[in-house]
Symmetry: C2
Subunit: 422 residues, 2 copies
């Protein structure tokens, strides 16, 4: 199997001020092309350390993908390393990338300065893959079997995520063509409502019986639940990858039922959007402790305006009463963190916006504000439609931000089940 290493460069990652998200994006896309990622390594903006790390990875992997260490504030350390490794004896200006730089900067109303022009200047023995979305091009260096004991290719991509992602499809296409790869089949089944350990117990017999060429990965995420990723490797039988996976999915559906909310990696907001679109229905949210996160998640999906009307974030009691119309008596008698309050909030926002469905939350995210009856981590969720209103409660034991995420995901899952039930 073709293997790859990812080298991320940046002092800002080593001091922990930014999280390396590029590696995950690259790993996912390269992995889909059928390449196994062996290792991800991060080093600082130091020429010697970058060089050492790249050489070590080239000795072990067929492909090494480097991001970062380019651009004016980095002194272009990566480019210098590529110059040396490729055995170049000069730089050449890449006309195609230079034209892109002119186009990008002029569309931003900026002049092209020497510092910008230099980004199109590459070591003469590097192959250039122009980057239409960014000013820094991709540079590639191929090595025959002599230098590292096997054929290897080194790619250097920009470190700015937006520019890196713009360049990535062309790099994947290049890898496919050089290494003659066909794609690996993956299928990601999304589940909500069962914790990872309980899920692992529940499906252990199914998991043990999986054929050897189907691999399973558990991928828990506070906003998505637990994703189960099935991958088919080296299928030499007479049935297609899709058929092999479908056979396993049939038994999995019997075990997990409606805890499965998607069989193709879609998120809860995407699934809810599809359900609402197919019914021609609309939704609104009334949020207290979740502070707008549910609305924010629903509107992260392109085209959400087709079914999402709006939200009232009623943090203050006065907003619950005056805007959502929660009766003062309910707040007095039951408190704001109660079944009665979220029911009134859910009904209130439906009246206000005219939406077909609504979901409401009220809970205690912490760190303060907990009481004996409503401890930190407790949330009440209400869902409402013309058919009626239902409420339920959930408990978590996390910090404030994680609690808010769990509250929001649980509310979205409750809404999904409510819409399906009709």
């Amino acid at each position: 199997m073709t293997t790859a290493s990812i080298c991320t460069i940046g002092d800002e990652i080593l001091i922990g001020q930014i999280v390396d998200t590029n590696s995950a994006v690259i790993a996912r896309e390269i992995g889909r092309a059928g390449v196994r990622i062996r290792e991800i390594v991060t080093v600082g903006d130091d020429r010697q350390e970058i060089r050492d790390a790249i050489i070590k990875e080239l000795e072990k992997s067929d492909i090494v993908i480097v991001t970062g260490g380019l651009g004016p504030t980095k002194d272009d350390v990566t480019k210098t390393v590529l110059y040396e490794l490729s055995g170049s004896s000069g730089y050449v200006m890449n006309a195609e990338q230079l034209e892109i730089i002119h186009r990008i900067l002029s569309s931003r109303g900026l002049d092209v300065m020497e510092i910008n022009r230099l980004q199109a200047s590459v070591p003469e023995k590097c192959r250039v893959i122009p980057n239409r979305l960014g000013t820094a091009p991709v540079m590639a260096v191929g090595f025959d079997g002599e230098k590292f004991g096997h054929k290897a290719v080194l790619y250097s991509l920009p470190g700015v995520p937006f520019e890196m992602e713009g360049a990535l499809p062309d790099v994947v296409a290049d890898i496919r063509s050089i290494f003659g790869l066909s794609a690996i089949t993956h299928r990601t089944v999304m589940t909500y409502g069962i914790a990872e350990s309980a899920l692992s117990e529940k499906i252990s017999a199914w998991e043990d019986a999986l054929p050897g060429n189907i691999r399973l990965a558990y991928l828990p995420d506070p906003l998505k639940g637990v994703a189960l990723r099935l991958s088919v490797y080296e299928n030499e039988g007479c049935r297609s990858d899709g058929e092999l996976i479908e056979e396993q999915l049939q038994s999995l559906r019997g075990i997990l039922g409606d805890n499965i909310y998607s069989e193709n990696g879609e998120t809860l907001p995407e699934v809810i959007g599809k359900l609402l679109k197919s019914e021609g229905k609309t939704v609104s949210t009334a949020e207290s402790c979740t502070g707008g996160l549910i609305a924010s998640l629903l509107t992260s999906v392109p085209g959400a305006s087709d079914y999402f009307l709006g939200s009232v974030v009623s943090y203050a009691v006065s907003v619950k009463e005056n805007v959502l119309g929660v009766p003062a008596g309910i707040v007095e008698k039951y408190g704001v963190v109660s079944s009665e309050c979220v029911a009134a909030m859910a009904q209130g926002v439906r009246n206000l916006t005219g939406s077909d469905y609504s979901v409401a939350t009220s809970g205690v995210a912490g760190p303060g504000g907990g009481t004996e009856n409503t401890p930190v981590g407790l949330v009440w969720v209400g869902v409402s439609s013309v058919s009626g209103t239902e409420t339920m409660k959930f408990s978590f034991r996390n910090d404030r931000l994680r609690n808010i995420e769990r509250f929001s995901a649980s509310a979205l899952d409750a809404l999904r089940r409510f819409i399906i039930k009709g």
Copy 2:
């Protein structure tokens, strides 16, 4: 300088399904203790690869911190490697961790099964640092100068972020005491409103004149702007680290003015919260394209209920008109993405909630929905108080989610400047 490497273990990171956030948290905390992180490396759940990676890092660094590869679904591969590296010849049950496991599970209403008890079982030559917030303890192995040519310590932490973060302070304290470290002084100056490259040009003379023992890092973030982190290393003069930094800050303030919104790393929502609290004032938001993200950011700060009253996410025109009271004539004449509309939204939400301040947004996040006059990436922001209402527009060229983040951060910065102006 004491050096460290971080080894993250997990197939799920190598296939790109989760982003390794643990490394950034560890790097930040260990870095604050005065340790330089040399390298971060991620390998899969494979005993041999974990062993090789750990040994290689122990050869180069004084400290190696491993996260992940523990727990039932991972077959405890990391524990097996620690067993071998420590030269243990058996496992022992750690009574303190076992008691914690009982306490945590019973507080969740769960029984303690054999699989849970086993988490307190550790290789006999490992030192245990009990983990009060998680079921997996920290295991440490010390090596004298013989094995790796220098004294070294290996720590194994759980991979679940919440459990890892719970254990981290005790690990940092252990490192400080073993390596006799005093803290490095860092100061993080937060700026908004100048892009990284323009900022770098604007402060280049100041940066060049920094004394050799003060280092500067640029840390751009779509939600925070660009952070400038100043660190004092090996200060042997007669003035304190704080005095050295303060002297540099004085000139920096003269250059950047009110683009600096914090000198201690606080975020925009935190700074706004402090400003409002000190004035005893309240705020509300009216959001269209930002879909609730501004409210969500404001409420991510503990204690936000002291000054945040609520938000109306008015995605549909009907909600803008019926809930916020935007006159239908404004939408007809100027459209929803207009100065007039965000002004009416900002005033409307202030009337509705009775807040002292408000901020409103309306723009085009994309990917679709752009027109010649209101292209994708354009946002109008309105801010309002009893003193009046102001509007302004911003343009970005990103994808949907990044545009929503930029829109929200720009609106928060506009609100901050508006509050300061009074």
